[in-house]
Symmetry: C2
Subunit: 418 residues, 2 copies
């Protein structure tokens, strides 16, 4: 059997460690060069496959590939693009097959979250439905930590560490200022549907910090929230609030949607943090500060968790190993064996059970009052933020890889995205 | 002459390295125990002196004091409280002298920014004006970097490093997403009057990142700004904007003041970042993300600059040495000798020349178009973000000092703050 090339692409929101998975894929493919051909990366995810915009990773030096392990965000570009079903858009699937055939691609590695698992699953069915032999493996990645089956998702541990470290540091700050100035600090974090990232803010309670966590899983109750803040400020002199961007009222309206208008009547987009902070000010009169971490949290490779980086690499490596063993339509997973000492093994799950399933915080990970995390949640989170894995620095800034990203010569006519 | 005790206090907004100065003061005082007595820290700055709420730092172990070097924010509590003039509030000065007399305090170390230098200067005059022998030394500290005479201020180098690292990482993120999603990322940083912190965002341009910096020193011109963003997005596919909280229109109105009202007609406090991001959206239609770093930037000890930590310690040490040599009404300073290799010495300046003077960005540190930094500015900033000085970690979180902060027994009647 002639040696097949591989296609690798990054999809959806990027993370601090998705390139570590890329590094795992490319280095493992290179180590198995006898049985696997070149790795062609899609420029901007699946769009790179559809437009035949392929990057020849074999042109990158071993050092450049190794540096990917320390580099945040998507080195080949990502995309937000979901394939429709085969029935709804057969043209796209035919194009994918044409591109794969033209470049002798037999392996499809897709590095993404829930939507991407769905895309990968659809591609994995091409072997049967369209008679083109292809093995599709999904490499999990999402800061939201909401993929099923796997114990955690690469990208999450690092954002959790960032949030816990940042919330701890800012809490030391507000504690210093509280006597005559700021008494409440509000930090907004990501997580539109699931509260895993916000939960990481709850880890600082064990450092003696009075913290209120607002989860998307818990309907927001302003009265109870204000009461909780009041109690904490009275007992500690200050408090920190970690609010998920997905925090919402019982009717589903996000806290961030306040229907605010500027002087010209334009609707204003704001964050949840300023809304929560103003709420505290109006009810209790406390001076506040607020921060919105946004991209800073998911790109913060400088404070990535060592466990997370290691797992991201291992899952990329395992994806190639699964492919070489003949698997299709699977996703390598983290299977936790024990919390303390933390032990896990790399397993795998069928994509049919992964695509379009979201994993939320279990109710018993959240305290009965809805404002904190339980010891059970703490045991789950603790190992995931373990260890530091610092990049090298030059002139005060981290040394991150910017690849050559040389294109593979096109062989097909152009294709219009619809 | 009987050995005198020292008073030390932290004032104003805290930083990632103000405790490194505290460490320098306390360790140097301990090393000179033959000539200097105990260091009493004011709980919450000068308020601790007025209310006789003194902390006995001699009760802290050498290890705890050493850990201050790695701990962000103010370990003894800070305050925003400015002494009035002797004429306007003689009562406060009489109280200070009563407290100092009661506790045999002959040295006054005040660790703060511009307002605090003014307070320290007023206290330094007590020897003459009220016949109480006291030496007052100001230890500089401010993330705003706006004190005169000293080449830089402890706290600034670390926030500059945080901003440059964070802006670089987030720029890698938006670059990954730009093909189908976010094209403009806006990061809001501190600096109400001076643009030093925003300038640090300009450092990432040398890493190939298209960045627009909005300084408080440059009157905001929406048309020119939109044009600059448009040019960069057209040439690079994306761009990053670093906006100072102090950025304002020609009439002095801050960008953050948009006169927005919520559904109930309440004025909304927002940041400059969402305002700038919405401006770009409305003019150019680009999808955006924005972050407001707020306290995260000034408390980020986890990514403090080694140069900054070292200087913070050295200035605390020098303050004690100046006191022991008999100085009064002075501030130790960083005197730069050369940019590259970076060399400096510790000097000192009379407080009369420091109090109530603000140092802004020189116009020749800002590019002619007002949106970037010049090579001259780069040469100034580059050494200040050099080096990493990581804290230790335990269970995934930094090990920061929380002191015992035991009170010194009170000897005087209570005092009401006015």
């Amino acid at each position: 059997m002639a040696k097949k090339n591989a296609f690798y692409a990054q999809s959806g929101g990027v993370t601090a460690v998705i390139n570590a998975s890329a590094c795992g894929v490319i280095e493992t493919a290179r180590a198995n060069a006898a049985t696997m051909g070149k790795v062609y990366a899609g420029r901007n995810g699946i769009i790179g496959a559809l437009t035949e915009d392929l990057i020849d990773t074999s042109k990158e030096s071993a050092a450049a590939v190794a540096l990917l392990r320390y580099t945040p965000a998507g080195a080949f570009g990502s995309c937000r693009f979901k394939l429709k079903s085969l029935d709804a858009n057969r043209r796209e699937y035919e194009r994918l097959i044409a591109v794969f055939k033209a470049h002798n691609i037999g392996y499809f590695f897709y590095n993404g979250g829930g939507d991407s698992a769905d895309t990968c699953f659809k591609v994995s069915q091409l072997s049967n439905s369209m008679g083109y032999p292809l093995q599709a493996i999904h490499v999990p990645k999402t800061v939201d930590n909401d993929l099923p089956i796997t114990d955690c998702c690469p990208g999450f541990g690092s954002v959790a560490k960032y949030v816990a470290v940042s919330a701890l540091e800012a809490s030391f700050d507000v504690r210093s200022m509280a006597r005559t100035s700021t008494k409440v600090f509000v930090l907004e974090v990501m997580g539109r549907h699931a509260g895993w990232i916000a939960a990481a803010g709850g880890l600082i309670e064990s450092h003696g910090i009075p913290v209120v966590v607002l989860f998307p899983e818990i309907e927001f109750d302003e009265g109870k929230f204000i009461q909780r803040v009041d109690t904490l400020v009275k007992s500690h002199g200050y408090c920190t609030v970690v609010v998920s961007e997905g925090c919402h009222y019982p009717d589903g309206k996000f806290l961030a949607e306040q229907g605010t208008r500027d002087a010209f009547g334009h609707a204003q987009l704001g964050g949840a943090a300023p809304v929560v902070a103003n709420m505290v000010k109006q009810a209790l009169g406390h001076k506040f500060h607020w921060a919105v971490a946004d991209y800073l949290q998911r790109s913060a490779r400088h404070i990535a968790a060592k466990t997370d980086v290691k797992q991201a690499y291992e899952l990329g490596k395992k994806a190639v190993q699964l492919a070489l063993k003949g698997h299709n339509a699977v996703m390598p997973t983290i299977d936790r064996i024990s919390d303390s000492p933390y032990r896990y093994k790399i397993g795998s799950a069928p994509l049919s059970q992964v695509a379009n399933v979201e994993k939320f915080m279990p109710r018993n990970f959240i305290t009965p009052d809805g404002f904190g995390i339980t010891p059970l949640c703490r045991r789950y989170l603790a190992p995931l933020i373990q260890g530091e894995d610092y990049p090298k620095y030059k002139d005060g800034l981290p040394v991150y890889a910017t690849l050559k990203n040389l294109p593979v010569a096109k062989k097909l006519p152009a294709f219009e995205l619809q």
